[in-house]
Amino acid sequence: MAQSMAAHRPYEVAGGGRVSLASAVLMQEEAGCELDWDALYADQAPRVYNYFRFRLGGADVEDLTARTFEKAWRSRARYRRDLAGFATWLFKIAHNVALDYLQTLRSHLPIDAAADVAAERTPERDAERASDLARLALLTANLPDRERELIALKFGAELNNRLIARLTGISESNVGTILHRTVQSLRARWHVAAGTLQEGPPA
């Protein structure tokens, strides 16, 4: 997939060889080198953007992404490489932004309301509701916060289990187990959920 390829585009390293950006950052951090903030932005912005899409569905994802980076950029001089990896640090900020957002929501739509919204029929809403993202929101609405967070970090932000474990405080093996169980459950209900949403009319 183009997005995965972009996230793992190779970087030349001194002495030859090519590594992914994530590894290059790790190597820079370990070597005490100054971080390439532009490259980090290019690599992390899509992850943060998709993290919010997976985590919060219909929220203003651009606004939340912007807030995350603004907070991070203000504090980047204080980023302590010895305390946490950059991605961990950034997604801690993103997680807090998500929590702030959830706290400001005045009402929480129960799962049944997702179908009720279908009553407002416009072509745009039909297409939106038929989208995979809407389907995911429908299926994850009743999941515990922990599972929703793991799905967003794994498939939205495309973080590996080790980073997710560092972020959430759950052991790496437990992260894998929870994700496996949650994905199985989602997959089993994926096509059932399609019938709950209105499909857009074909051309």
Partner: protein
């Protein structure tokens, strides 16, 4: 474990959002954290000072002290530069006397009256008036921005007037909005004009300060500038616009020409029996337009015609194909020419596509013989679509840059050197213009190195010190 259904949900953020956010982030300076030793020393000194003051107070001498160092009086600058605010707007930035924008000129000595030298905060360079220095020799690297936008000279002292074609109007609007929001007092005026008219006005006299154009100035137009009061122009390349015509990989791409596209989609076309007359477009399938094409029904999904991308599509493909007919290309009447070359069929052959490349990709997979009109940058985000060649050339970064792909064009900027010398507002406008990201989906930016080189050369050619 099959997780494709989740991976599929990921999308690429809109490029314009990423560029806009990056631009905002770049304005935030990096302030190093205070070193621990320095912090400790500062704390110790503060504590000692507090103890000393307390001791003096006990001795009854506090009332005779002047806290000038704390009140920002005679000894201090009195200016608190809170430059690291997340909510810094361009106006706050300008007010604090520095610009995070890397294109801001460096502080320098100026003997010119009206210098706006401001006290620098935190070591950042100040914005100063343009010195009356000898301009750097011309030959700025050329970035062609063919949007037909013209910045007219102000009436009276320092007011900019800008003209733009539809292709660049929104970019100019946003630049002006940012400028005004940043505290710029004399709002530039925007005037919309076709690109030919833009060059006419630019070279007629020295009333125009800046123009953006969707083609390069011709030698004769340049001569007109040099002979008139307008004088020499600085030319810079701004980027490209490119559009691809795509189909589902299931049926593969077509090999098209602008003439094919025009004959397939124009509302009226030259009569095959009598090319000097026009008829309502009768074609139903591609092989009727060109026997070398397959017998698929003509169906094209594209942007709304009135949109910037729609207008770009009309210019690059429909109008280009229309002008392959000499009798139409020779038309003097612009209205008739536009009616023939910029009007599409309304019989369902051209349909407004659903918004977003993902929706278009999905729709084209359901209609594998249909053709989609897609901005070139969005093509990179698709996996199931194939781009058609136009005149034998497929869209790619190289073919766009070298101009061999005829579904693209280069965009240019022109700045009047004589106007630049006496107008601080023009410098500010240029800084904002370069800092306001282009949101036309068909815009293909220059490489970072080339962009840096262009901006640096434009600024230096105008007598501004480049960053």
């Amino acid at each position: 474990m099959n997780e494709d259904f989740l991976h599929r949900i990921r999308v690429r953020p809109p490029p314009e959002f990423l560029a806009r956010l990056k631009s905002k982030l770049d304005r935030q300076p990096l302030h190093p954290p205070p070193r621990l030793a320095r912090s400790v020393l500062a704390a110790v000194l503060a504590g000692a000072s507090a103890l000393a003051l307390a001791a003096l107070a006990l001795r009854g001498e506090l009332a005779n002290l002047h806290w000038s160092g704390w009140s920002g009086g005679a000894g201090g600058s009195g200016t608190s530069v809170t430059s690291n605010s997340a909510s810094s707007t361009p106006s706050e930035v300008l007010e604090q006397g520095w610009l995070r924008n890397p294109w801001a000129p460096q502080a320098r000595q100026s003997s010119a009256a009206g210098s706006r030298h401001r006290p620098a905060g935190n070591g950042m360079p100040s914005v100063v008036a343009i010195p009356p220095a000898n301009p750097v020799a011309p030959n700025a690297s050329v970035a062609h921005y063919n949007s037909g936008a013209v910045v007219l000279a102000p009436n009276g002292a320092g007011r900019l007037r800008i003209a733009a074609t539809l292709h660049d109007q929104s970019h100019m609007d946003r630049t002006v909005k940012e400028l005004v929001a940043g505290g710029y007092r004399r709002e530039p005026q925007i005037v919309v004009a076709p690109v030919d008219r833009v060059f006419e006005q630019l070279c007629a006299d020295d009333s125009i300060s800046l123009a953006t154009a969707t083609r390069r100035m011709s030698p004769s137009e340049n001569q007109r500038c040099l002979r008139s009061a307008a004088g020499p122009m600085v030319e810079g390349k701004l980027g490209y616009q490119a559009i691809a015509l795509v189909r589902s990989r299931l049926y593969g791409a077509l090999s098209l020409s602008p003439r094919d596209i025009y004959l397939a989609l124009a509302a009226r076309i030259p009569s095959p029996a009598n090319p000097s007359a026009t008829i309502p477009n009768p074609y139903v399938s591609w092989n009727e337009v060109n026997p070398a094409l397959p017998p698929d029904r003509i169906l094209v999904l594209g942007p709304a015609v009135a949109s910037e991308e729609g207008q770009t599509f009309l210019t690059l493909f429909i109008e280009a194909g229309c002008n392959t007919f000499p009798s139409i290309a020779a038309l003097q009447d612009g209205t008739t020419h536009d009616e023939l070359c910029r009007s599409l069929r309304e019989d369902g052959v051209y349909v407004t596509a659903p918004p977003g490349h993902a929706a278009l990709e999905e729709r084209l997979q359901m209609l594998p013989t249909a053709v989609g009109v897609l901005p070139y940058p969005a093509l990179q985000l698709t996996v199931n679509l194939e781009a058609s060649s136009i005149d034998g050339v497929r869209p790619a970064q190289q073919s766009i840059e070298d101009g061999s792909y005829s579904g693209s064009r280069t965009l240019y900027l022109y700045v009047n050197k004589r106007r630049a010398r006496g107008m601080d507002g023009l410098l500010t406008f240029l800084i904002y213009f370069f800092g306001t990201p282009e949101t036309n989906g068909a815009f293909v930016p220059l490489s970072r190195a080339e962009s840096t080189d262009v901006r640096s050369t434009v600024f230096s050619s105008l007598g501004y010190q480049p960053p």
